[in-house]
């Protein structure tokens, strides 16, 4: 029953063709607009924007794997959670150094990604999905069952990280730090995509065997992508810990892994702006479906409506929202 090979051969042609290099103007304009609007975005709206930006970083980190390399990981929450836990644990009982904590969180997540990557990249296709999920669950159990992270209740941050005038106790600082992290992540991935390394990843996604035949040590390319993606997810985890001041094992649960994968697919695989769009739409959709003022008593059962929305989405929009945008744009011409 040789199913793993048929998987990789069958799925290759359906993955989007070589990414078009989208202009840098739209993302740049959005970033500038956000930077300008920072002081005005307060209260609920401000919280939502920060939340969406953090999730966009998380979704972008997964897009590096799913969209750019063709590796479907269903355990991405592990690196997110490890980053957050390391932030809180390393802070101890004082305010930690912001720069040091970011570096530590990203290093720890990258380290766990390295260990998981070495093992899981020995497999492919549907195996890879299951193995990444299982290793993420292992990380979940480590924080849930052992006392390192305060068990199932999680642990609190005594004081938020700071660096000179940058104090994460300040809402505006949080906003700009998160925005800077998002711009950094987006720019880094955009650069990777244009680089030789990115081209090799695109080649691996299209046809790994051919890349290997062409002399590329594909395993190491994939491992590098996996570790970078883990580090960026750790960055998102750091931001969550610094913003909320609390982490619990639910951050590593497989629901989160599923949600972030959903954001990437919802937006449209193979586009950086797709991951960002997916993070925005998914967060808004979840918010909408669980707000009493909008959907009435159904809000208590948002999982039901969310699940049905996901199913409808899979049936109707196989290429994601970006695909829809492109299709309508084409029809308008």
């Amino acid at each position: 029953m040789n199913t793993t090979t048929t998987f990789s051969m069958k799925s290759a042609p359906t993955i989007p063709a070589a990414p078009r290099h989208g202009g840098i103007w739209l993302p740049l304009a959005v970033a500038v607009a956000l930077a300008a609007a920072g002081p005005v975005l307060t209260g609920y709206l401000g919280d939502m924007v920060v939340k969406v930006m953090i999730l966009a970083i998380f979704a972008l980190s997964l897009e590096l794997l799913v969209g750019m390399t063709g590796l479907v990981s269903l355990g991405h929450a592990a690196y997110f959670g490890v980053g957050a836990y390391v932030t809180v644990i390393a802070s101890g009982d004082g305010a930690g150094n912001l720069a040091l904590l970011v570096a530590l969180a990203m290093l720890a997540s990258a380290g766990y990604a390295l260990a998981v990557g070495v093992l899981s990249l020995r497999t492919r296709g549907v195996y890879f999905i299951m193995v990444t999920l299982a290793f993420a669950q292992m990380a979940y159990f480590i924080f849930h069952d052992t006392p390192v992270g305060g068990g199932s209740d999680g642990i609190y941050l005594y004081a938020r990280p700071a660096l000179g005038p940058l104090d994460m106790e300040n809402r505006l600082t949080v906003f700009y730090v998160v925005l800077a992290a998002l711009v950094f992540t987006y720019a880094l991935l955009a650069l990777i995509r244009r680089s030789r390394f990115g081209a090799a990843l695109a080649g691996i996604r299209a046809n790994e065997q051919r890349m290997r035949a062409a002399g590329f040590a594909t395993f190491w390319y994939k491992l590098a992508a996996f570790v970078i993606a883990g580090a960026l997810a750790g960055l998102a985890g750091f931001l969550v810990a610094a913003r909320d001041g609390v982490v619990n094992p639910e951050m590593l649960s497989w629901h989160i892994s599923g949600e972030v994968l959903l954001m990437v697919i919802l937006g449209g695989i193979g586009h950086l702006r797709g991951a960002v769009l997916g993070a925005i739409v998914f967060t808004l959709l979840k918010e909408l479906l669980s707000t009493h003022g909008i959907v009435g008593p159904l809000a208590d059962h948002w999982q039901l409506t969310l699940g049905l929305s996901i199913i409808a989405f899979v049936a109707l929009l196989p290429k994601g929202l970006i695909g829809l945008v492109q299709r309508t744009a084409k029809e308008a011409k």
Binding site: L74, L119, A134, L306, I310, V314
Partner: protein
């Protein structure tokens, strides 16, 4: 650890392993034949367990009738689900199947909460299995757990016979190795898919019903068991039923004895086992080299 305790733990490990086998065999069959990775498989386990809880009063607490009725209902559910949700997904990527089954998990979980609520419910052991088998002077072993193991063994043998010695089994094996050729030979592959899916759902639900008196029924019981099933399938090798059996028992023993010796980190043992297998044989114990 004295011998009697050791024996009891062994029996527990076998019983847990066999239960996992019922689930994992369905998962691996569905993947092997249909190429669908079914995240909702754990939900069917949960549906089964809740059926054992909810149907039993309807049949006057008769456990065997409940089991049979529940299995039939689950098979019908599987048949319908395949028809409504899965049949249009075969040409799509795995990613979309993952998403859709993820959506189904949310729907099932919420429906469960709507219909039965979020409380933990115990399911009584049928009276004719209520006692325990004495082992030595101090230890005893519940009859019900022996019954659970026995049922699983019977089902495993039946599954083996069906897959290896019937016409349907021949079609299943052929479908797993070359889907297009089977279609070319004039076999109704749609009906085959629907049958296999219904059988997989029925097996998962049956496992849930058998487990219900032991573990009681509780929210999210499907999710945790699903991931353990993935570990089993990865260790055993995708599409291999023998592999699923060996891996289920291995996982059963590692988990049970892990709880005895390292209670702090018991949840991690099976993942270490999986990592070891991946280093040694990335295609799984019984999987074919890709």
């Amino acid at each position: 650890m004295d011998f009697a305790t050791f024996l009891v733990q062994c029996l527990n490990a076998i019983q847990y392993g066999l239960l996992l086998f019922l689930l994992a065999s369905g998962l691996t069959l569905i993947f092997g034949i249909m190429g669908v990775i079914n995240l909702a498989h754990g939900s069917f386990y949960m549906v089964g367990a809740y059926m054992a809880f909810a149907l039993s009063p309807l049949f006057g607490g008769n456990f065997l009738v409940t089991l049979i009725a529940g299995t039939v209902l689950a098979a019908v559910l599987g048949y319908l689900l395949e028809w409504v949700f899965f049949s249009y997904l075969y040409q799509r990527e795995h990613l979309q199947q993952v998403l859709m089954t993820y959506g189904l998990i949310l729907v099932f979980e919420e429906l469960r909460s709507l219909l039965v609520g979020n409380d933990v419910h115990g399911v009584p052991v049928p009276s004719w299995l209520a006692g325990s088998l004495p082992l030595g002077d101090l230890m005893q072993y519940p009859w019900y757990r022996l019954f659970a193991s026995g049922t699983c063994i019977v089902l495993a043998v039946a599954l083996y016979l069906v897959v290896n010695h019937t016409r349907l089994g021949m079609m299943i094996r052929a479908g797993a190795s070359d889907r297009d050729m089977v279609r070319g030979l004039g076999i109704n592959i749609r009906r085959l898919y629907r049958t296999v899916f219904a059988a997989g759902v029925a097996l998962a639900a049956l496992a849930g019903m058998i487990a219900a008196p032991i573990s009681s029924v509780y929210p999210n019981m499907g999710a945790s068991v699903l991931i353990i099933c993935f570990v089993v399938v990865v260790i055993g090798g995708i599409g291999s039923i023998t592999g699923a059996l060996v891996a289920s028992l291995l996982v059963g023993f590692v988990d049970t004895f892990g709880k005895v010796f390292f209670s702090e980190a018991a949840g991690i043992g099976i993942y270490v086992l999986m990592a070891a297998v991946l280093i040694w044989r990335p295609e799984g114990l019984m999987g074919r080299r890709a």
